[in-house]
Amino acid sequence: MRPLLAVREITVRYVGSVALDRCSMAVGAGEIVCLLGANGAGKTTTLQAVAGLVRPDEGVVELEGVAVTGRRTEDIVALGVALVPEGRQLFPSMTVEENLDLGAFLLRPRARRAGARARVFELFPRLGERRRQQAGTLSGGEQQMVAIGRALMSEPRFLMLDEPSLGLAPLVVEQVFATIGRIRQQGVTILVVEQNAEQALALADRGYILETGRVVLQGAAADLARSDLVRRAFLGV
């Protein structure tokens, strides 16, 4: 079965350092896969490489068998990919509703936008209450909701999330992860990068552990949760 996303031996070099070193991974349709690792391990770079924000020096990124390596972000997004980036990256001076609507920039026909928005408000009722508020004035958790909601507006088939729990209160984090589970139930394939290994592994089907740019461990989420490496490094055991 051809995976939805296939990353083969990608290497990304920055001046004086190697961010990713011959990394390979795959995500099957309908799966939730998590990417774990310490700061600087290369998790964000991986997502950026897939989304076209960074061009790999070597290797191939394939979406449903089609090579998309080095293509521009806006073109990759048009193929049904969405990224909720690190730091949320909202449009601060625009309202919640405007931010969401921009998420549907590529959605055709325009009439579908209202439906997409309704689904986002159903997932995040708080956003519905604050729809006319400027995004820059929201709390961290609410901003994260906007970021996820915006990504969903394009009705993607593949969603990537970069540290969605960062800076959020534990209660909100649980909410976010529950939401990600619901999104998967709607048929979206998900790749999530996380420092919060416990929640991520509880949610995901499979996982990859990155260390200084290399994949050091991979497998079913349950197996990873039991492994010594993961327990020592991330679960504080």
Binding site: A51, G52, L53, R72, T73, E74, V77, A78, A82, L83, P85, Q89, L90, F91, P92, S93, M94, E98, D101, L102, G103, A104, F105, L106, R150, A151, M153, S154
Partner: protein, 291 residues
């Protein structure tokens, strides 16, 4: 009191015109982060296109406005594709020198084609004056000011309510996020540049009611545009209105109240610019800007 009100009226009319002259500069800077030293030539070319449409085709300047804007839109797009796009990621020094070089080229092409003779369009309706209560305003100037303000208003409507307008604001606010929702920044840069050319050209067309048309008029309008845009806060179209009001009213009052008023009115813009650059470069409403 009437004298005062007259000065205010003149200032407001000027402000509307200046807003149209300048808003393109702030649009391009906000979206593409480049300061366009060719902008004055858009105004100049708009004026000449309007002139030739009138001289050769007998078209009234106001009716010619859409044509002029369309022509300048295409010109701006072509110029962007051919030249400007290549320096968008170059150091600022390159950008400054390149657009300045273009300014030279266009100015001298105009000079060669049309000589230093100044031209004007003596349309019948432009010379009559309208009495509005205690003040009298030349109809030509009034139209220039009102049309200018309307065009700027239309720009705002476009920016706030249409998809492409929002996409442009998105690129201005956060380019990475814009790409993540599928907006191609390159296309937005092109659009911003073309729209700014169209607006500058429209201002040029309107300028025919205010001043004579010469090939060298671009530089003066460029500096005025900078004054307005920087006064208000660069990158912020709404602030352009504030800047236009300050410049328009200051010029009007200087001209009315100072001895040797006419010359001072011209010079006041420069003084304002140097003052604001030295004291508060982010303008009245703006945020700090790199570069």
């Amino acid at each position: 009191m009437e004298f005062f009100l007259q000065a205010v009226a003149n200032g407001l009319v000027l402000a509307g015109f200046y807003a149209a002259v300048s808003v393109g500069v702030t649009l391009v800077f906000g979206v593409a982060r480049i300061l366009n030293f060719v902008h004055g030539e858009f105004v100049m070319l708009g004026a000449y296109v309007t002139y030739w449409l009138w001289a050769l085709g007998g078209v009234d300047p106001l009716l010619a406005l859409p044509l002029t804007m369309a022509g300048l839109f295409v010109f701006g797009a072509v110029l962007h594709r051919a030249v400007i796009a290549r320096v968008l990621h170059a150091p600022h020094e390159n950008q400054i020198l390149l657009t300045f070089g273009l300014h030279l080229v266009l100015q001298n092409v105009a000079l060669l084609l049309w000589t230093t003779d100044s031209r004007s369009i003596p349309v019948a309706w432009a010379t009559s004056a309208l009495a509005l209560g205690p003040v009298t305003v030349g109809l030509g100037r009034l139209v220039a000011g009102a049309a200018g303000a309307s065009l700027v208003g239309l720009l705002f409507v476009w920016l706030v309510w249409t998809d492409h307008g929002k996409a442009m604001r998105a690129v201005a606010q956060n380019e990475t996020a814009a790409r993540l929702v599928g907006i191609a920044p390159d296309r937005m840069y092109l659009l911003a540049f073309a729209v700014s050319a169209a607006l500058g050209g429209a201002a040029g067309a309107l300028s025919s009611a205010i001043a004579a048309i010469t090939p060298g008029m671009g530089l003066g309008y460029l500096i005025k545009a900078f004054v307005v845009v920087i006064l208000g806060g660069i990158g912020n179209p709404l602030a352009t209105i504030a800047g236009a009001l300050v410049l328009g009213l200051t010029e009007s009052f200087a001209g009315a109240y100072l001895p040797m008023g006419g010359t001072w009115a011209e010079g006041v813009g420069y003084l304002l610019l140097l003052a604001i650059l030295a004291l508060r470069p982010q303008g009245l409403a703006g945020r700090e800007v790199q570069g």
